[in-house]
């Protein structure tokens, strides 16, 4: 417990050190309160065992003249007693567990296309669709607070797992299967998550941010995402726009309002409005963006973003262009 507090205090202000025990949604909340109960039961049992072992080691150490222990072969009543105690304890835990299952993971029979958000997992990033509005983004999921949202999950390649501990259960994302889970956020704020199933080289850098917003802020964000950014009018961003179409970029990326319609990598229509690059690897700053374009293979080894070995001038132009895509 002391270590728990020490670590919690070393936490950055505003961020939670132990998100599993710091729920911000009704779903995560019912798991966390169950977890507290189970944890105390486990600690109790551990204390009993440790106490009995420590006591025996003190009290029943070999003494001169008393080399042999007592001839006790067992005690059937006692043994049946603790067997029954285990059954009761586990039974009680099971009952609470069943209750928490249905409250943390409601079973609904909505039609397949009734997702509020559709997540498509890729090696190693998240494609995010909002079917109702048509917004498409990546890695950062904006949601309105206080609204139960059904997330649908599909995989473009291998098995991944969507996990944002403060908001609810984790759910595997499996090719050929569409899974669902419910997510909600009690408060505005940023909730950190990650891919939890090993999915190959860059499993480590497949992070998630869920950004809870007030309904008004969310509507504003959605509106902004639906608006296609105006083409740049000044150098060097104008050159950057040309380079983008001329180089290999459009074969993987989409930018709304341009001929670029690639679907292998993230949609870049509003890339400048995101907080991070490369699925949480870097903060999204102009310097980092240029760095990422220059050597993606060093920043995120294994990533499918190729190093095109671009000259400095092209890098700067591309960065200037992408920075206009708010």
């Amino acid at each position: 417990m002391a270590i728990y507090r020490m670590v919690a205090e070393s936490a950055r202000p505003g961020a939670d050190a132990f998100p599993v025990f710091d729920p911000h949604s009704p779903y995560a909340h019912s798991i966390a309160s169950l977890a507290h109960g189970v944890l105390y039961v486990c600690l109790g049992i551990l204390l009993i065992v440790t106490g009995l072992v420590a006591f025996s080691l003190r009290r029943f150490r070999e003494k001169p003249g008393n080399e042999e222990g007592r001839l006790i072969y067992g005690n059937t009543k006692l043994e049946i007693g603790y067997t029954a105690a285990f059954v009761v304890i586990l039974g009680v835990i099971s009952i609470f567990s069943l209750r928490a299952m249905s409250s943390s993971d409601p079973q609904t029979h909505l039609p397949k296309n009734a997702n509020n958000v559709l997540i498509v997992a890729h090696q190693w990033w998240w494609e995010v669709h909002y079917p109702a509005s048509g917004v498409v983004t990546a890695n950062e999921i904006h949601i309105p607070v206080h609204e139960p949202l059904r997330f649908g999950f599909r995989s473009a390649d291998v098995i991944h797992d969507f996990w944002v501990p403060e908001l609810g259960r984790k759910m595997d994302v499996i090719p050929g299967v569409e899974n669902h889970s419910w997510i909600a956020a009690d408060n505005p704020g940023t909730y950190y998550g990650a891919c939890a199933e090993f999915c190959g080289k860059e499993h480590a850098w497949m992070r998630i941010r869920v950004i809870g917003q007030s309904p008004a802020d969310f509507a504003r964000w959605q509106q902004q995402q639906l608006t296609v950014p105006a083409p740049p009018t000044a150098a060097p961003a104008m050159q950057g726009a040309e380079y983008f179409q001329m180089l290999a970029c459009p074969s993987c990326h989409t930018i709304g309002g341009t001929p670029a319609h690639g679907i292998v990598g993230p949609n870049l229509t509003h890339v400048a409005s995101r907080e991070t690059l490369a699925a949480g690897r870097l903060e999204n700053t102009p310097d980092n963006l240029e760095h990422w374009l220059r050597e993606p293979d060093l920043i995120k080894p294994g990533s499918y973003m190729p190093n095109l070995h671009l000259p400095r001038e092209q890098l700067q132009a591309l960065t200037a262009y992408l920075e206009t895509l708010k």
């Binding site: 065992v49 080691l57 029943f60 222990g69 299952m101 984790k170 090993f198």
Partner: protein
Amino acid sequence: MSELAVRPATIEDLKEFEGKGTLLSWLSTCDHKQIGILYLITALGFFLVAGCEALVMRLQLAVPNNHLFGPEVYNELFTLHGTTMIFLVVVPTLLGLSVYLVPLMIGARDMAFPRLNALAYWLLLFGGIFLYSSILFGNAPDMGWFSYAPLSEKPYSALGGVDFWALGLFAIGIGTISTGINLIVTVFALRAPGMTMKRLPLFTWMAMVNSFLIVFALPALNAALAMLLIDRGLHARFFTADAGGSPILWQHFFWSFGHPEVYIMVLPAFGIISEVIPVFSRKPIFGYGFVAASTVAIGMLSFAVWAHHMFAVGMGHAMDIFFAFGSMLIAVPTGIKVFNWVFTMWGGSIRYTTAMKFATAFLIEFTIGGLSGVIFAVVPMDWQLTDTYVVVAHIHYVLFGGTMFAVFAGLYYWWPKFTGRLLNERLGAWHFWTTVIGFNATFFVQHMLGIAGMTRRVWTYPNLPGWAVMNMISTIGAFVLGASTFFLLWNFVWSRKNGQVAGNNPWEAWTLEWATSSPPPIYNFAQIPPVHGARPLWDLHHPDKQDRFMDK
């Protein structure tokens, strides 16, 4: 005693014995004791390799955003570490102890099928060497020891690492199944007169139940490995999402082997504890019947728990509840065992030897691992905590704090039988305390890392609150744990030259392996000793008293 036992080995005998083992005798042996030692030496070698792999991983994870090496190397390291520890360290160690001890404990002269015994060992060794030869070809497997499809399929793992892995494990699996069959037949057919099933030493009981688990569980893995190889080599689609295959099928096959495998890795360790604690408490085991029966219960239930590895798959609540129920149930016989061991110490006259130190530490470390196991049977908690560092902590508390602590207890206990000399208790104490401190420093903090949101199998991680501190503690602990191994190795080396001559029965133990000389002659017993109870040597020492086990 004298009329049945071989003459105790003297220092001259030992000198002769120590000079004797020619290379050819080790390569050609069908003697269960030599094969047992070969298993243990092989496992020790792989233990050092896999331990070094773990230390290198902990170096990479010591600080956030570390670029000591990249994800390619890290993924190969954790795949090899897991595969090696499970298939080439823990299982062979326990098989080696079983193969050495079971014939002695039941008063037999060898295993039922001595040549099959040797074949199984060589399959293990060459399977392991084959697996590691992948490094020479630049293709070490990197998809995890669980090798989930479709990541392990050709489109995502084009190089040969997966094939090396699957073929290596296939060979090892055949060997392990052979030894399972061999042990079952040995226990059923070769018991000395009077050695009824109710008088079997508990280690033998558990080795036998374990063998049944091996015989029923390992074929599922080998079948799945064959299907994976067919997928990869012949373009079948058992485990891909298109053309009727299913990636989830692989998980069912793998874990229907994989969870019994967990018990395969722990039941013989329970057996060790069930021998060591009574001997050093100078008391019979508390509730022999409960301990033996709970082993059978664990064996059966272990086939009804596998999908608790898959609660995050989205199988639906009905499936989740079934497997949660099975996993809760299996905690009952496991809990019974822990309390029976604790009450065996109660009222005893405890000799606090190194073996007993490890056995008592086992009780506490294994309880922590068992309790964190119950947490994963609580489905909603599993939905949060599976695939996080809580699982890493859990498996290491069960397999290191549990199995390896028991194995250390067993090594200090049986080493004199294997070699004729005692290990050094002072070095043993150093080994024990560095192990306990290093182990808990490494793994306890990982429970908290998991709750802090750190997922498993990541080659690096962002600097989130608390993560850097906890990872650094874990890395320091790992190096203390690594250092503890030097005391063990030093003790082995020291004992071979300077260890006190043990005599037949240095611990005044009661099972038959202590009725013969240390090390035992090739024929084990000059005469098969008489068995009238579960503690034959106790009966011999107390001709006037009746062990209550005699009537049963």
